[in-house]
Symmetry: C2
Subunit: 584 residues, 2 copies
């Protein structure tokens, strides 16, 4: 039987950690080598981590990454290793090294460079123009990188039309809700269209605003899912791929004979690898390593569990990769801080999380009870630091300058800022990272205080709309089999408690109305007219759009948070602060 | 004599202000029409302002910009108007409209899209492939946009080889130190190489982190500068260009016969404009409007006056275009806040600037005297708000939680944060914009307190290294003919005054050593080895590099400031926070 054994290493590299990433890669090579794979595969830019951003403008960084690759080469024996790195010749390329017996056999250069959303690859890389096909005994295969596979007339198609029977596609593809389904549809279509087996390997882990979900896939020429990597965790998949069917399918449905290749100059190479498929039938791969198919990828919309896990991994990796051991969170007794605390505990453990409750005279008894109940359920330390004395000191210092004007935003923001200062004080004193608790609805309309509740190093739920905060909290309780987040927190009306009897709805439309307007405006770039046609109230839409536009200056100073929607704030949405455009 | 009369309108549009920009453009058309120009020219993306960033992802914004262009068309009579806008067909283009007698004659699409530094044009636009040459009576000319002219084999060369005798190049080219000289050298080479007259029109004004310097140039076929627009101010230049010489030069030195055009498919059109050069000899253009040549562009390195003016314009436009009338600044008696206050006064007038002096027990008598002297010299209001009472309130609230640990960074930062809160309190109460006073040296090494002295809406000297802060302050005093900034401020040792007898040099190398290391590392992307070879101390370099890398998280939350160096923080330098790369 014509077959090949692939080992897909879904690893979690760290940006810039060349020696750490090399160590991780060599460990996988040594471990998985036991199963005699023909090919061991690592993700896109596995050597540098993704995205290295402007580190790529440093020539010494490029050189160090090449030295790191040479270190990896030495550990490659009688099999093929495919490793993502930055290649350097007359320019730099997002590349895949093809290594065999310690030698660099070939280098593939990514052809289609993404330059939208969070991606800036035209800023750094030159696109490749070469479509190599590798011949290994009777088997032919192609390699390409991430974005390449998204083009129907891209390298996979060209490589297939030149005989490739399977494609190895290495990725650093960030998560957002619903992406798994989109990916699976595209990959299965691509596999079927070109009568190919596709081994899609994705990196995993958090990097600043991004979280890579792993969730590698192997899909056969009939669009069938044959193996699946874990979501949001490192994983190794060792799988035997049968290649009899791909050629058979081509004879029976030879669509791909028509493929002419891209219009511009391009180059097809056939590269012969002196390596037949190994005799590895006797070496059994444990079932747990075969990438059991759970079919989570075509389940339609994202599940709450999937989103929650993305937030946990993104938070853990930000904390750990930046060298922090512990975090602190301002607990208000409200749902946002409760959810963030739950995420933090799942990310780094209850012993490493401290809640700080900072009441004023506006704080209700319920808020205190709920904050303490949450801390108890999570098993985290809770400190109480009342802010009234500091507030009074500010107000008396400012009284002569506030000119008898009535209390308002200035006084409300002071409370939030005192809390921010106390959290930062504890951070400075004990080296804790402050997690902020703002959600996407608040970030969108600026319902947050700069240097107040926005003060902190990382914002786990920054891209989570308030209505989803509720759903994730409910899911967390169901998943835990108990009310980790106190039930009352899920039912009481949201309030900032910066004045007596304040409710979020005093300033904002109800979240069930606000959130769909925000999605239409921010994620879908709909106009005022189009949102009106969705059935929302005209004045409400106008108010929301104006708030979003006018609070760009706040978002520009907000801490990074985890992207979970198709358009997050931060690198993903680049908006001018100075902007007089009004679309109504 | 074969001649053409050009009117170059160096205007200051505002991003997104379509109706305001249209009004400004029509006003110039009406005013300059009196001089019977053959061609009236407006800058790149004059209709939308530059850069519109992700506004370009909104289809309704594109449509509104096209409606705005149609409004402009109506005001164009018997002459040609060239106006930068966003064209829409199967995709969107960075484009120049060629308008005549109310009709859109042609549209040029920018061919070379910048996607480095602060530019993201591949994120938005499709590159053009067409090289039109316009024929107007006996005269032939070409149009191209900004980046296009930086390519030696780009459109200017192709258009010249197809008969164009002059080129109109419209720009939104942001300022940085030394760029004027680079631009002039390139443009004069391009003009001479191709035997062309080049009319280079640049936009002017501040937009968030960018300041456009205007400084439009007209250069003849012998590389001679024949007209120059104002720097950092709106300007109109009406100039008669003689075109006899360009053809003569081609006959005598026909280098450009060799030009073959770009390698890829491209399209040359000759478009005949039914408009002979006008009989406008009798209409005299006042000398002041002829773009007097001051030769400031090939003066070599940037002058202090030029940099100062860039900061003034950038600050004014941020304040005014965002709808603020007044600003406040924390005055410490030190040089940074003194320079920022001077810039603010020059930007928006002394009546609109309030200094706030916030002493503690660590504040020296000299600092108080210097802050008051500065306020008096500038004629600004100064308020004094001591922060000791608030600090004591914090310390007593935190005492039980700080666990008897010795005072340190936490206590120092608290002082800076109290000041930040007071400034923000005044901002919230009175609607003043807070200007922060941090310089580039501090921003680089993180010698600043998040939510403390970094709190504010705009950071005028964020990209000015400390050594340049001194030079600009000295220049300001010389230019004013008096010590606006008190002399002692220029001579005393810099200190943050957050503990007794503190000096910046307790924590940092002297600025004369720090600044060149920072330039090598940040602007020039030099490695540790390379910086060592410049002659600096090894430990000092290591410390500085580590500080720069580790304070990326602070910079990510800093307010925008004006780019004046070839690499500023912000959109210009995109660095990961999570980054374990160490180059030593």
């Amino acid at each position: 039987m014509k077959k090949v054994r692939l080992a897909l290493c879904q690893i979690n590299p760290t940006v810039g950690d060349l020696s750490g990433n090399v160590k991780k890669i060599i460990e996988r090579i040594n471990k998985l080598g036991e199963y005699l794979p023909d090919i061991i595969v690592f993700p896109e830019l596995a050597v540098t981590g993704y995205p290295p951003e402007d580190l790529l403008l440093k020539p010494h960084f490029i050189d160090d990454n090449i030295e790191a690759l040479q270190e990896i080469q030495k550990s490659v024996g009688d099999f093929i290793a495919i490793v993502g790195f930055v290649d350097k010749s007359e320019d730099i390329y997002n590349a895949a090294a093809v290594i065999h017996q310690g030698k660099l056999l070939d280098v593939y250069h990514k052809i289609h460079l993404p330059n939208y959303g969070v991606f800036d690859e035209f800023r750094y890389f030159k696109p490749g123009k070469r479509y190599p096909v590798y011949k290994m005994g009777a088997i032919k295969f192609g390699i390409n990188i991430c974005e390449d596979i998204w083009y129907p007339d891209g390298p996979a198609s060209v490589q297939a039309s030149h005989g490739a029977e399977f494609i190895i596609n290495i990725n650093a593809s960030p998560y957002h809700m619903g992406k798994a389904g989109t990916r699976f549809k595209m990959l299965s279509t691509r596999a079927s269209d070109n009568s190919l087996v596709i081994a899609y390997l994705n990196t995993v882990g958090g990097q600043d605003e991004l979280v890579f979900d792993g969730h590698s896939l192997v899909i056969n020429e009939h669009a069938g899912l044959i193996a699946e990597g874990k979501c949001f965790a490192e994983d190794d998949i060792v799988i035997d791929i049968c290649l009899e069917e791909a050629f058979m399918k081509r004879l029976h449905a030879p669509h791909d004979r028509e493929v002419a290749g891209p219009a511009d100059n391009y180059q097809i190479d056939e590269i012969v690898i002196d390596h037949g498929p190994l005799k590895n039938e006797d070496v059994l791969v444990p079932a747990a390593m075969r990438g059991t198919v759970r079919s989570v990828c075509d389940a339609g919309p994202a599940t709450n569990g999937e989103i929650y896990n993305a937030l946990v991994l993104g938070t853990r990796d930000y904390v750990v990769k930046n060298g922090f051991g512990k975090v602190c969170i301002g607990l208000s007794g409200g749902i946002d801080s409760s959810l963030v605390a739950a995420i933090a505990v799942d990310a780094i453990g209850n012993d490493n999380v401290t809640g700080i409750f900072m009441p004023t005279h506006f704080t209700s008894a319920e808020s205190r009870e709920d904050a303490y109940a949450l801390a108890e359920h999570l098993g985290i330390m809770i400190l109480e630091i009342p802010i009234r004395p500091v507030l009074d000191a500010y107000l008396s210092s400012l009284k002569p300058h506030f000119r008898e004007l009535p209390p308002g935003i200035a006084e409300e923001n002071l409370q939030a800022r005192i809390r921010g200062n106390i959290l930062m004080g504890m951070s400075n004193k004990f080296g804790w990272l402050v997690l902020t608790t703002g959600n996407k609805s608040e970030m969108s309309v600026g319902y947050a205080t700069l240097y107040g509740d926005m003060a902190g190093g990382f914002a786990p739920i920054k891209d989570v709309p308030k209505t989803l905060v509720f759903k994730l909290s409910e899911w967390k309780n169901i998943d835990s089999g108990k009310s980790v987040i106190p039930e009352r927190v899920l039912t009481k009306a949201p309030t900032a408690e910066l004045r007596f009897d304040q409710k979020d709805t005093d300033s904002l439309p109800p979240y069930e109305i606000l959130d769909p307007i925000l999605k239409a405006y921010i994620e879908d770039d709909r106009s005022y007219e189009e949102i009106l046609n969705l059935g929302f109230d005209s004045d409400c839409i106008k108010k929301v759009i104006a708030l979003v536009d006018l609070s760009e200056y706040k978002r520009r100073q907000s801490p990074p948070g985890i992207k979970i929607t198709p358009r997050a704030f931060g690198r993903d949405r680049r908006f001018p602060i100075t902007n007089r455009y009004r679309n109504y």
